[in-house]
């Protein structure tokens, strides 16, 4: 398997607080890797650095051999990294389908004047976008809701819409920040199947943050554990489950009593 992504010695400081330090990660194409750790461990911060939302204080990020440091967020998206958010960040006033069409912006060519005068290229692209957006909605089972406002969707569907929107940007690497948060067991199961199916259909590599351990253990091939910004363990789900440092990080308080 070839390497798609590599982070070397990523470090993020906020004033005096080191949220992430010396983070290394290599992802091969087609892998699903989990990033876990207690609250405030620095998981979301890792995503923010990869997506170009935060500028790392130190370290290097490589994607398909290209250095990402210094690139703008939208350029990184265009190169093929997309994400979802821990707290859903859809555009509530836009229709479901429009949320996805926005994601295609980075893949289109026609100009502003084309958009105003509805030149043929613009119209063709717009129709194409619409068609692709419908296909994506179909994939995640939201096709009937296409014309609804996204804020009117129930929570679980909003999570799926966020995933579909991320896919709209045409990613090779998908970053999922707690996709199962707030879902009940049957929804979680459905989501698990969905993610696995999307991974196959779109040839994705996935890095995933999740607190639901059962979910992580079942879906991920490899897991990295962060605690206070430091990587304390790495390995297969089985190894992680048995790792004393991980148990301590999660159950520290239980152990001390």
């Amino acid at each position: 398997m070839t390497e798609l992504f590599r982070a070397e010695n990523l470090t993020m400081q906020f004033g005096g607080l080191t949220a992430v330090s010396g983070f290394d990660l290599s992802l091969c194409r087609g892998e699903i890797v989990g990033l876990i750790g207690p609250n405030g461990a620095g998981k979301t911060t890792v995503f923010n650095m990869i997506a170009g939302y935060y500028t790392p204080s130190e370290g290097k990020i490589l994607f398909e051999g290209k250095v990402l440091n210094g690139k703008k967020a939208h350029e990184i998206t265009k190169l093929g990294i997309a994400r979802t958010f821990q707290n859903i960040r859809l555009f509530p006033d836009l229709k479901v389908i429009e949320n996805i069409m926005l994601a295609y912006h980075c893949r289109i060519r026609s100009s502003f004047f084309g958009a105003v005068f509805h030149f043929p290229l613009y119209r063709r692209e717009e129709e194409e976008m619409m068609r692709k957006a419908m296909l994506l909605l179909n994939e995640v089972g939201l096709a009937e809701s296409a014309e609804e406002q996204s804020s009117s969707l129930p929570y679980g569907k909003q999570r799926k819409l966020e995933i579909a929107r991320a896919l709209g940007t045409g990613p090779k690497l998908l970053l999922l920040d707690e996709p199962a948060a707030g879902m009940n067991p049957s929804e979680t199961q459905e989501l698990l199947d969905l993610i696995l199916r999307l991974k196959e259909d779109f040839g994705l590599t996935i890095l995933l943050i999740e607190h639901d351990m059962k979910f992580v253990m079942r879906i991920c091939e490899r897991i990295k554990v962060l605690d206070y910004g430091i990587t304390i363990a790495e390995g297969t789900p089985l190894e992680i489950q048995k790792d004393p440092k991980v148990i301590e990080a999660y159950l520290g308080e239980v152990r001390t009593c």
Binding site: A51, Y53, A73, P92, C106, F112, A115
Partner: protein, 295 residues
């Protein structure tokens, strides 16, 4: 007080207020997506008038070509101001951007004084717009009729751009959440520059119609309409394009009616606008058509 007198005042108010509204649209567009009060907006309008003036009197262009070119050049000036002044402070605290806007405003005014001299210049008004017609006892200058029609057309175009084009969709997303929009792969800087272009073009169009009314221009001419348009934008609910237009119309009508009904109060004409601003900010800061602002 008879009906035709009142009708006359309302018509006058509408024709003035339409221009406030058109200029206010630029304020509201920029505010909507950047949460920035672009205090230089009135001065951008002034720049547009000078472009139009020089096009006619220095380059002997036909008036329509000169006006059109002025609108395009002003749009370009709006982009340059965004790139040169506002983009560098985009991630700075909001107050920095506000102070930058005030700085740009002073810069343009003083640049105007240096380049164009402080002496007012007579502006061109095409012959056919100078006719006065009488409809049902109400006298209307042709210019005002055409201005109003053009204003409505431009408003329609801007609303169309916002609601029915891809660029507009991106604008609405930036207005709601700029960071997420970036992460969805949208080149936010490009969309913001386009927003400045649209707002500045509207200001130039409004300014040229404004200049034809009086018909003269000077480098400080943008200050009062700029402030009035700001009031109109707040009155209508800042961030809301239709609201800005309605706010402008309302402000124009109130102003003209005040002067007509109480000629002794005519001196307070400008004060009225600011009294309205204060009242709105105190009692309904989201304006007439404003929704709850995000964040």
């Amino acid at each position: 007080m008879d009906f035709s007198f009142l009708a006359q005042q309302v018509i006058n108010g509408i024709s003035l207020g339409g221009l406030y509204g058109l200029i206010a649209v630029g304020y509201t567009l920029v505010y909507g997506i950047l949460r920035l009060i672009n205090f230089a907006h009135g001065d951008i309008m002034m720049i547009g008038c000078y472009f139009a003036f020089y096009g006619i009197f220095m380059f002997s262009l036909p008036w329509w070509a000169s006006f059109l070119l002025a609108v395009i050049l002003t749009a370009a000036a709006g982009i340059l101001i965004d790139i040169g002044a506002y983009r560098p402070v985009r991630n700075a605290p909001r107050i920095s951007a506000l102070i930058t806007a005030i700085g740009v405003s002073f810069l343009l005014e003083n640049l105007g004084l240096v380049l164009f001299s402080g002496r007012p210049k007579a502006f061109y008004r095409p012959e056919f717009l100078s006719e006065i017609r009488e409809i049902a006892g109400v006298r209307i200058l042709d210019l005002n009729i055409w201005s109003f029609v053009l204003t409505l057309v431009l408003l329609g175009v801007i609303l169309f751009i916002i609601h029915d084009t891809r660029t507009g969709r991106a604008m609405r997303c930036i207005a709601y959440d700029m960071e997420t929009t970036k992460l969805m792969g949208v080149d936010v800087n490009r969309i913001i520059a386009l927003t400045f272009a649209i707002g500045s073009a509207a200001a130039a169009a409004g300014g040229i119609m404004w200049a034809m009314r009086y018909p003269q221009i000077n480098p400080l001419m943008g200050i009062i309409p700029g402030l009035k348009a700001f009031v109109a934008a707040v009155l209508g609910g800042i961030g809301n394009v239709t609201g800005a237009m309605l706010g402008g119309l309302l402000l124009g009508i109130i102003e003209i009616l005040l002067v007509a009904l109480r000629p002794d109060m005519a001196g307070y004409r400008d004060a009225i606008a600011f009294a309205i601003l204060i009242l709105i900010l105190l009692f309904r800061p989201t304006g007439l058509m404003g929704q709850k602002l995000p964040d």
